[in-house]
């Protein structure tokens, strides 16, 4: 990613379905060869945004550029973009091999070329053994790989993946995440990946776009977003977070800070600086860590992670403190205070 060419550019996209605004002014540049993840809760417009890029949906206003070219008048079958659908959408009447050949056959690629390319893709996706099976005779993970193979054989500039691992169990999910990431690196194709699983987003992506209600909350590298969430929504959607507002002691400037549980320190005696009294309501052991739930005098709840060798008990009265370097001031929207 030394060369930062823009592959896909979304400019001020807006889209409504029956007066309901689904995409509310999104602008986004996707770099060539990057693994970009669209992360957001169900119904926030992830699929709709992908459908603007592959051409099945037209924006009400704004434009979609691929390699600098406006795509308004380019139909889906002429775009240099392929999609792995949320439901895979394999052709049930065709074998795995025929599914993978499909696009090349439609584009009238010469037969020897087809065989060569298809074999290469089947090998890369570990599907050679299943080449002559129908999709209905495959496991979820295998079907998923066929969907990817079928798209990769077209050598698209951009691959769109709509929650491709949503239907798989946890173990297979983890394994496929790695495989996908490796495949993406090897091919150098730009991936735009949709998920509502924050952990998956953090593992797999070069950059994450956090979406909420049709607009972008924050764009950045996973680590950066995790440590420096820009809003209460991002802080609580990506991992767990404590929020302390200005009316608690020592934070009298009226701002709200977000603090990850692992940075919340508990003390038996009142420490210097930040010190918020609280009572422990629950202790859960998580292997190396214990998770401690607390409640402040004003009723607000907090969560801390601590190593298991420190002894905490339900009912203990403690002081919460933290290193101000670890907390993140967030912009608070009036309607989001919970």
């Amino acid at each position: 990613m030394i060369e930062e060419r823009i592959q896909v550019s979304l400019q001020n996209i807006e889209k409504s379905f029956r007066n309901q605004k689904v995409i509310d002014g999104i602008s986004l540049d996707v770099r060539q060869g990057e693994f970009l993840t669209l992360l957001g809760p169900s119904g926030c417009g992830k699929t709709t945004l992908l459908r603007m890029i592959n051409g099945f949906e037209k924006p009400d206003s704004g434009s979609v550029l691929i390699d600098g070219e406006d795509q308004v008048s380019v139909p889906p079958n002429k775009r240099n973009v392929n999609t792995v659908f949320q439901s895979y959408a394999l052709f049930p009447h065709l074998t795995v091999r025929e599914n993978v050949e499909f696009s090349l056959k439609m584009k009238k690629v010469p037969e020897e070329k087809i065989v060569e390319k298809v074999n290469a893709v089947l090998e890369m996706t570990n599907l050679e053994a299943f080449a002559n099976r129908k999709p209905s005779k495959l496991s979820g993970g295998q079907q998923q790989r066929v969907a990817i193979a079928r798209s990769l054989v077209c050598e698209p500039k951009v691959l769109l993946l709509d929650e491709p691992l949503g239907a798989l169990d946890l173990k297979l999910r983890k394994q496929m995440q790695m495989e996908l990431k490796d495949m993406q690196k090897a091919s150098g194709i730009t991936y735009i990946y949709v998920t509502h699983d924050q952990e998956e987003a953090l593992t797999i992506s070069d950059r994450i776009v956090v979406l909420n209600g049709g607009h972008i909350e924050q764009i950045g590298e996973g680590n950066d977003i995790y440590l420096h969430p820009s809003s209460r929504f991002v802080a609580s959607f990506l991992g767990e977070s404590n929020f302390f507002s200005g009316d608690t002691e020592n934070l009298s400037d009226g701002r709200v800070v977000s603090l990850r549980p692992e940075f919340l320190i508990l003390k038996k005696d009142r420490p210097e600086g930040i010190a918020i009294p609280a009572r422990i309501t629950k202790v859960t052991y998580l292997g190396v860590y214990q998770r401690i739930e607390l409640v402040e005098q004003n009723g607000l709840k907090a969560v801390a992670l601590d190593s298991v060798d420190s002894e905490w008990h339900v009912g203990d009265n403690v002081f919460m403190t933290w290193d101000p370097d670890n907390s993140q001031v967030i912009q608070e929207e009036g309607d989001m205070v919970s």
Binding site: N77, F85, H93, S103, R150
Partner: protein, 260 residues
């Protein structure tokens, strides 16, 4: 309690068998009489023979009417399939106002009495200058056969994973490639099954044909004519043949429409 239950299932079974007998005894009798050695229909039969089949085969008028029926059923089934499949696919892909109403409307010819359809078609054809005859009958049959093809095709399309159509386009297929390589193979059993059903419906259609045929005869009309002077064993022979062919067609049609 248990005894009562046994009793009621026993009664139900008997009623079921009686209903089946009531429906099928007449047909069984016809088939049996077709092999009657005698020319008088009564039990017990005194011997079996194929002579009525031979006589049937030698009856030129009957054979000619059979030919007419086959041509009419073949062509109208073909026309109904082409129009029904295109219509069903159009309704599936495009949204337009009154679509669900149209879906119900298209079934109407199946429900309406044949007499009504016959009169309506005759009036209309005369108004636009289509004369009674083969052409008119084929057009008439095609019209009501669309009512069997279109709804079946449409409902099969609705069961399809719609994403495969978008997937095909996403992979670079044109609309016609998508239709022929993805849509058609996935609805072909529905098409074949409705074609078989259409063919049998056309083969034994009387009312609409009667209004439109003019001077020529189709098989059911010919048979109807032959029975005016009492049922001859020859009629039994041809009826048995029709029964067996229809049975086969309907069984195949059922099998295919149950598939996935």
């Amino acid at each position: 309690m248990i005894k009562r239950k046994h009793l009621s299932t026993g009664v139900l079974t008997v009623i079921g068998i009686l209903i089946l007998l009531f429906m099928y005894i007449p047909i069984i009798v016809v088939v049996l009489y077709a092999f009657n050695a005698d020319s008088v229909n009564y039990f017990p039969m005194r011997g079996a023979s194929f002579k009525w089949f031979a006589k049937m085969a030698a009856d030129d008028d009957l054979i000619r009417s059979l030919e007419h029926s086959l041509v009419i059923a073949g062509i109208s089934t073909g026309v109904a399939c082409v129009l029904g499949v295109t219509g069903g696919y159009g309704m599936y892909r495009f949204d337009f106002p009154g679509k669900s109403f149209m879906n119900k409307l298209v079934m109407l010819p199946l429900i309406l009495p044949g007499i009504l359809t016959g009169v309506a078609l005759l009036t209309f054809y005369q108004a636009v200058g289509i004369h009674q005859g083969m052409m008119a009958v084929i057009l008439g049959h095609s019209t009501f056969l669309i009512a069997t093809v279109l709804p079946q095709v449409y409902s099969r399309l609705q069961q399809l994973d719609g994403n495969i159509i978008e997937a095909a386009e996403d992979l670079g297929a044109t609309s016609s490639q998508t239709f022929f390589h993805v849509v058609l193979p996935n609805i072909q059993t529905a098409i074949i099954s409705s074609a078989l059903l259409s063919f049998t419906l056309s083969m034994d259609e009387i009312p609409v044909t009667y209004f439109l045929n003019g001077i020529f005869s189709t098989l059911p009309i010919q048979i109807w004519g032959m029975t005016r002077n009492g049922i001859t064993p020859e009629v039994n022979a041809i009826s048995s043949l029709i029964f067996i062919i229809s049975l086969a067609a309907i069984l195949i049609s059922n099998m295919l429409s149950k598939e996935d």
